[in-house]
């Protein structure tokens, strides 16, 4: 378990850990130092300090006594006296709800939603959390209803069987249907969308494929071979990280085009007069920006690069020419 090291733990953070440490050991009778430190996300030195603090607790009245007795000789922790501290504290509302919302989100995924483990876990957790669980009913998560359950099921089948797949994949930026063989690595569900992460044999690289853009998928009678060096995408660092070599595109969006700033990862977003918005973003391929500009119409304009703005006007002119004679009809 990794915890965020940037914030220094407060006295109450540490108190929570100390209160969990005693029951952690008690419920296991005896447990190794290294294992415990890892479970709590601390160093062994910090663990020794925690254990000493617990061992040193002394109540002075009516008679002085030390309520906690423990030892950690030979790298193994044993608690012999725990004085009313042998059970962890109840779950708080945020804690219970975080887990329950997460579990219910998993239940939305067809791949594990049919297993009974989820419903059993939800029932047990609700029982243990008691009233702390009830606000979780006020939070709902709906995953990707655009993806057919059958496509998700096929992808998870391929993953569990470790087989290569052949997919027809639609690339909207270029309005192309492409064919490729992919060795599946993981199913990612991020920002409400499902992706297959895999080794794309045409690109010779790790690629993400949106399930709702798969036109067809065939599980091949070939074992998936993901090269040892294939790096999984860092799901928590943002799926799409622009590279400094990408083209810097600057757009201005009218009130009807503001959604673009929510939809695409922008480097910069600036409020302009009259509800307009200025954004900059980086992209390796500007083809999709041309399509976006056509879609936006008067709700958006390309500021730079200037040659991109020219191409958008050319695209619009060519499209209008299809309508009874073209732009001169205005």
């Amino acid at each position: 378990m990794s915890t965020d090291a940037s914030a220094r733990p407060t006295a109450t953070d540490r108190l929570q850990r100390l209160l969990a440490l005693v029951p952690y050991v008690v419920s296991r009778n005896a447990v190794g130092m290294a294992e415990t430190a890892a479970a709590f996300g601390i160093t062994e030195q910090e663990l020794v300090d925690d254990l000493n603090m617990l061992w040193c607790v002394e109540l002075r009245s009516p008679d002085p006594y030390c309520p906690i007795d423990l030892s950690y000789e030979g790298g193994e922790i044993v608690v012999s006296e725990a004085e009313a501290m042998d059970r962890p504290l109840r779950l708080g509302v945020d804690e219970a709800c975080a887990l329950l919302v997460g579990l219910r989100m998993l239940a939305e995924l067809p791949s594990i939603g049919d297993g009974s483990a989820l419903s059993r876990t939800i029932a047990k957790l609700e029982a243990a959390a008691g009233s702390a669980a009830s606000p979780s009913a006020q939070v709902a998560v709906q995953v990707d209803h655009l993806t057919g359950a059958s496509m998700t099921a096929q992808v998870t089948d391929a993953l569990s069987q470790g087989r290569r797949v052949h997919i027809s994949y639609y690339v909207p930026g270029r309005d192309e249907a492409t064919e490729r063989d992919v060795d599946p690595m993981r199913l990612l569900v991020v920002e409400g969308r499902s992706y297959l992460e895999g080794w794309c044999r045409s690109a010779g690289a790790v690629r993400l494929f949106r399930l709702d853009r798969m036109l067809a998928l065939q599980i091949l009678d070939v074992a998936a071979e993901v090269p040892a060096g294939a790096q999984p995408v860092d799901v928590d660092g943002g799926l799409f990280r622009p590279s400094p070599q990408d083209v810097l595109v600057q757009l201005e969006l009218g009130p009807g085009g503001r959604w673009v700033a929510e939809y695409y990862p922008c480097e910069q977003v600036t409020e302009l007069p009259d509800g307009w918005l200025g954004i900059t973003l980086r992209t390796p391929d500007t083809q999709w920006v041309r399509r976006l500009a056509l879609r936006l119409g008067e709700d958006g304009r390309v500021v730079s690069p200037p040659e991109l703005a020219v191409r958008v006007r050319d695209d619009a002119g060519a499209a209008l020419a299809n309508y009874a004679g073209g732009p001169q009809l205005r």
Binding site: R17, E95, A98, V101, L109, L294, D315, L320
Partner: protein
């Protein structure tokens, strides 16, 4: 400083947990090391300590021991403090680990970690690996998520600036929040709009500036049978009757439109083009979508859709 405080709070919890009777403030000061000698200074510090323990969810009770003349005292009931017995099978522990990971780097990540810590302390081995090959995540990039979740959790009314779609200036809204919903990766809040006296849905990314509480905890009542999820679904989709349009699409292009096609045939009058019939619901959205295909797609029918596409394209030309 912080270390001494941790030691004092720890001793205080142990003292109150093991007490069989309510302990008066004076008895607590005598038993717990680390409090100042002056009674006034002790009282101030003890008040702060009580608040901190309650914030951690430690159920600190006050009361008077039966048959005693003493002032009121404090204790922690073990029954109220302790996590009830919970045992999980390995497959259950695995999905629990996966569920906690859903929040990683999002608003409730700390809460999920804290919950796992307590469950581990109850003897559960929440496996981190679990379910190979599946990584679901929830994001809470919207700044309004934190305060609105608090408002829903604590049943407090709120007010916030909201920039509705197509408007250029935010409007102040007053809301009794009933629930938060994530749909297709975006967060929404559902509740009673106090000015309009009706249920309304708001997208969190359009909340402008700070969310302010306008009432105490517990002052919002969620009507029984409220379906927050259904409310967002209805708001998001709307369900006008589907219409059909006739498009001329260049052969080999317009895949994104053909996916919804009802039928397709070569256009005898235009070699290299096909006539494709597609059903759609929202003329505005559909015209934007068609415009994005540029010169590869022409709308033949109906006229309002054709005009909407031409309008879009003229806008892009300007």
């Amino acid at each position: 400083m912080s270390r001494r405080k941790t030691e004092r709070l720890l001793s205080l919890v142990v003292c109150l947990l093991s007490a069989r009777r309510y302990l008066t403030a004076a008895q607590i000061r005598d038993a717990v090391p680390g409090y100042p000698d002056s009674f006034e200074a002790f009282k101030r510090m003890f008040e702060r300590d009580k608040d901190e323990l309650r914030e951690l969810g430690i159920p600190l009770e006050t009361g008077i021991n039966p048959g005693s003349e003493e002032e009121s005292g404090y204790r922690i009931s073990r029954q109220a403090y302790e996590l009830p017995e919970i045992r999980l099978e390995p497959d259950e522990a695995a999905v629990l680990g996966l569920a906690a990971r859903v929040w990683r780097r999002a608003e409730l990540a700390g809460a999920a970690e804290g919950a796992l810590l307590k469950l581990r302390a109850a003897g559960i081995e929440a496996e981190d690996m679990s379910q190979p090959g599946i990584e679901p995540r929830l994001q809470t990039g919207e700044a309004a998520f934190g305060p609105l979740w608090e408002a829903v959790r604590d049943r407090r009314p709120v007010t916030f600036g909201y920039l509705a779609a197509g408007r250029s200036t935010p409007q102040q809204r007053k809301l009794e929040p009933w629930g938060v919903v994530n749909r297709r990766g975006r967060w929404y809040v559902v509740g009673l709009d106090r000015d309009r006296g009706e249920q309304r849905v708001f997208r969190l990314s359009r909340v402008f500036g700070k969310v302010a509480f306008t009432g105490p905890p517990g002052s919002v009542t969620v009507p029984p049978g409220t379906d927050v999820r259904g409310a967002v679904r209805a708001w998001d989709t709307g369900t006008p009757a589907p219409r059909a349009c006739l498009l001329r699409i260049r052969a080999g292009a317009g895949h994104g439109l053909r996916r919804h096609a009802l039928g397709s045939r070569p256009d005898p009058g235009h070699p290299g083009w096909e006539l494709v019939e597609v059903s759609y619901t929202d003329t505005g959205w559909w015209s934007e979508h068609i415009a994005s295909f540029g010169a590869d797609v022409v709308v033949l029918e109906p006229t309002d859709l054709r005009d909407a596409v031409i309008g879009r394209l003229k806008g892009a030309l300007a």
